[in-house]
């Protein structure tokens, strides 16, 4: 029964991870850029949600569309200035410089979070009760967050696979030259990919705050988490990343239960280094 409990918790936690990973995957796939500021967008959205719930006092779930629209606009404004200029450079150069730029952006955003929302850990007291079904206890907040995040991630994959623009996004992530030669506006595609990716990071943040406390300075934990999931699941492999998210969610629930919170938090880092030791080829393709 305990195992089943951990499994259910893990799957729901994994559901919240799917969105955070897919939003990074989208940017990574289309632009070849690992957005090191990803976690700070997530945390800013999470902190905003807490403020929103405290001051506007409607359902905090209303923060979801707001976070998406605002961060979509922020992403659309930043991409042409910060990242598009690097796109013409050689791959190695572009990777190096884009890492630096998003690293710098990360700290600008963290500072923004510190100035606006303060440096404390905050959490959102919403849906604190639990449901019990056949001996399995499920926190309502985890259930809501996991299900909504999973649904949004599913919507993203439907958008990518079923709509014309989504398909051109996928095409651009497979071959930029190919995409250009069939008349896709790759610049626009990159801009939209980044904006949607950042917007969805915002959605992920508003949902993650339901299940774990955040502080401005925890931003990088989410970046790493998202990156580990993308690396494990496979670059551009949306199904692989979804599976990796659920597996990591389960692993973290189990590790957290048996070894404690510290171990749960460093698990993604340990996995990253472990996989680098035993399976570097997998990363080489992704890198």
């Amino acid at each position: 029964m305990l195992l089943l409990q951990l499994l259910v918790d893990g799957i729901l936690l994994g559901g919240t991870y799917v969105l955070l990973a897919q939003s990074l995957n989208l940017i990574f796939g289309v632009m070849g850029v690992v957005n090191l500021a990803h976690g700070s967008f997530i945390v800013l959205a999470g902190l905003f949600t807490v403020w929103f719930a405290a001051h506007v006092a409607i359902s905090p779930l209303l923060a979801i569309p707001i976070a998406f629209v605002v961060l979509y606009a922020v992403g659309a404004a930043l991409q042409p200035v910060l990242l598009e200029p690097l796109m013409g450079l050689g791959m190695q150069q572009a990777e190096l410089l884009s890492l630096m730029i998003t690293f710098g952006l990360d700290y600008v955003l963290i500072e923004l979070g510190l100035q606006v929302f303060g440096s404390n850990y905050v959490s959102l007291p919403y849906l604190q009760s639990t449901w019990t079904l056949g001996g399995i206890t499920v926190g309502k907040s985890l259930l809501v967050a996991g299900v909504i995040a999973g649904a949004v991630a599913l919507a993203l994959s439907l958008w990518l696979n079923r709509t014309g623009f989504g398909k051109s996004l996928l095409a651009a992530s497979q071959s930029e030259t190919g995409a250009v030669s069939v008349g896709i506006n790759v610049r626009l595609v990159r801009l939209v990919a980044f904006a949607v990716g950042v917007g969805l990071a915002g959605v992920a943040g508003t949902l993650l705050i339901l299940v774990e406390p955040m502080a401005a300075e925890t931003a990088d934990n989410f970046t790493i988490l998202a990156f580990v999931l993308v690396a494990l699941g496979g670059l551009g492999d949306y199904r692989g990343v979804a599976i990796a998210s659920v597996l990591l969610g389960i692993a973290q629930s189990a590790v957290g239960f048996y070894l404690g919170g510290d171990a749960e938090n460093v698990l993604p880092y340990v996995l990253l280094i472990l996989f680098m030791a035993v399976w570097p080829q997998r990363f080489r393709r992704a890198a």
Partner: protein, 584 residues
């Protein structure tokens, strides 16, 4: 391979005179400030200079692994923290003087780097960057659970005031950082590191022991960071995991070096001094905006001045990059000494036995066997996707074979790393020349000549190779300014500098005009005259190589389908089918 239009008239044929007197003036000025600060300055001033010196050392450490070697680290703070904790624990629990404890911390940080280096340095780019970041988080958790070192509450060190001692130690540390960087910029070892930065596989192909060089650079960067951390621990008398494994220390290090100029000798010092001094002033007016400020500096520098301040002053000819081991003028050089006669001349130079390569489920090569005898030139042909380049990659050690054996002069090399095979006598070219683009012709050739040779011998052999491929007039030109034809020549210069027994040419004629092909053919005919025993060519343009080759081997879908003289092979119905398809 002569180009009708040389891309640039070389303005410098002699190596630029070294401006040693400028270096002495700069050194004297820095020393004067260093001595004057504690004599005339306030305690605040001494602390500020100490902080600058410690950060300079961190910046120089980061520059070794990230600037020179090309592995972007966001986790130098792992070493910094280990050094700090080693120092703290030793000072608190053992009766040893602080400066020895700091040194021990540096050694421990180096040990950590040597142990984890071979794993962490497998994949560069984002993976290395984030793994280093993650390593620092793991260390932070481990140390907060270690009660002997104070656990989460931190560790209080005895509060002895030794500002002058710390000051002098910090000065020596910064000097050590500077010296290591200057050595990287001028030495053969540094050239290896920069070769890895520019193109790791190409470096291995000319004999650079890439893993060893990377781990050594990593260890040196770790020592500097570890010593810096130990010094900070002693200076502050209190350490705890959040402050000793603080990622913003990495942010500052990255900002300082980037702003000054990555991979340069003076950049880290310039960046650290300017940004610390300016930062101090700005933070008075905008307190608590440190992170945003540094973040903005990174963004603006990358967008507007990616080479940093040093690249700016380079425009006026100041602080030029030293050219590695360049003599004042290009000597005539000496060809490599004749190779000792092989014990058994009949043994094939290259023997490939049942070689198979698999990528996941895809069979790229399936049981390929052939021999190349001394004196032979063999062409390997096949349609696109036949496995030709994979075959070369497996022979030269860039793709691990799933089965089969590869023997060079009778000795199995299938398990040797690529750089070993290069040193044992295999030289290869790539489909597109893979050269160190920002570096000069001289450095590209020297990098290949250096391995397994003494210094003066390497210089003589490199000079000979530069003359032989006709690039003597351009010996100090950076590769990025060479025409494609000259780049091809340079690649051959690099091959000759290796003094190879076996040369593997990967589609050297692709995309060439008829005239260029003709010149390339002449070069290939001449290769045997330079001590090369055997040549293997992968080629698409069959007409251009048919009369050059003694034998041809035809691959199709990863299998050898024919082998024989060019006449036999080109009439073989199986070959015709493979190229032209089944007759309707």
């Amino acid at each position: 391979m002569s180009d009708t239009k040389p891309p640039l008239a070389p303005s410098v044929v002699h190596a630029p005179a070294s401006h040693w007197y400028r270096a002495i003036v700069a050194g004297a000025a820095i020393l004067a400030v260093f001595v004057a600060a504690p004599i005339f300055g306030s305690a605040y001033m001494v602390q500020l200079v100490t902080d600058i010196l410690i950060f300079t050392a961190l910046a120089y450490g980061w520059n070794l692994i990230s600037g020179f070697t090309g592995y972007l680290s966001f986790g130098q703070v792992s070493f910094y923290g280990v050094g700090a904790y080693a120092t703290g624990v030793m000072v608190v629990h053992m009766p040893i003087p602080w400066y020895l404890a700091v040194c021990a911390g540096g050694v421990l940080a180096m040990l950590v780097a040597v142990l984890i280096g071979p794993i962490m340095l497998r994949v560069r780019g984002i993976l290395f960057a984030l793994s280093m970041f993650g390593l620092a988080r793991i260390f932070a958790v481990l140390f907060s659970d270690w009660d002997y070192a104070g656990g989460g509450n931190g560790l209080t060190l005895p509060a002895e005031l030794t500002p002058v001692g710390v000051y002098v130690f910090a000065g020596l540390l910064a000097l050590a950082g500077f010296s290591l960087n200057a050595w990287f910029a001028r030495s053969g070892f540094g050239l290896d590191a920069m070769g890895i930065r520019e193109d790791e596989n190409a470096a291995a192909a000319v004999g650079v022991p890439t893993t060893r060089v990377k781990v050594a650079a990593f260890a040196l960067s770790g020592v500097l960071a570890g010593l810096a951390g130990g010094l900070v621990a002693w200076n502050r008398s209190y350490i705890d995991p959040p402050s000793m494994f603080d990622p913003t220390i990495d942010l500052q290090t990255v900002v300082f070096v980037l702003f000054g100029g990555m991979g340069t000798i003076w950049g880290p010092l310039i960046g650290t001094v300017i940004l610390t001094v300016v930062g101090e002033q700005l933070l008075v007016h905008f307190p608590n905006l440190e992170l945003a400020l540094y973040g903005l500096v990174v963004i603006v520098t990358v967008l507007l001045l990616p080479g940093g301040i040093v690249s700016l002053v380079n425009r006026w000819g100041w602080l030029p990059r030293p050219i590695v081991l360049a003599p004042r003028a290009l000597p005539f050089g000496e060809p490599p000494p004749p190779r000792a006669a092989p014990p058994e001349p009949s043994v094939p130079v290259l023997a490939v036995d049942g070689l198979g390569v698999r990528f996941g489920g895809l069979v790229a090569l399936d049981g390929v066997s052939f021999h190349i005898a001394p004196g032979e030139t063999v062409a390997i042909i096949g349609a696109n996707g036949a496995g030709k380049t994979t075959l070369f990659n497996a022979i030269t050690g860039f793709v691990p074979p799933t089965h089969g054996d590869i023997r060079l002069r009778g000795r199995s090399v299938a398990r040797l790393p690529a750089f070993r095979r290069a040193r044992d006598g295999m030289a290869r070219t790539f489909q597109i020349p893979r050269l160190m683009r920002p570096m000069t012709v001289w450095e590209n050739v020297l990098a290949a000549a250096r391995h397994g040779r003494q210094g003066h011998r390497a210089v003589a052999q490199a000079a000979w190779a530069v003359h032989t491929v006709g690039l003597a007039d351009l010996w100090l030109a950076p590769v990025s300014q060479l025409s494609p034809g000259h780049q091809r020549r340079l690649e051959f210069g690099r091959v000759l500098a290796l003094d190879p027994d076996l040369v593997l040419l990967d589609e050297v004629m692709a995309g060439m005009t008829k005239d260029e092909q003709e010149e390339m053919r002449a070069v290939i005919r001449h290769l045997h005259g330079f001590g090369v025993s055997a040549v293997a060519m992968v080629e698409h343009v069959i007409a251009a190589i048919a009369d050059l080759s003694d034998r041809m081997i035809v691959l199709d879908f990863g299998r050898k389908i024919a082998e024989g003289t060019p006449d036999e092979v080109l009439r073989d119905p199986a070959v015709i089918r493979a190229y032209l398809g089944e007759p309707q």
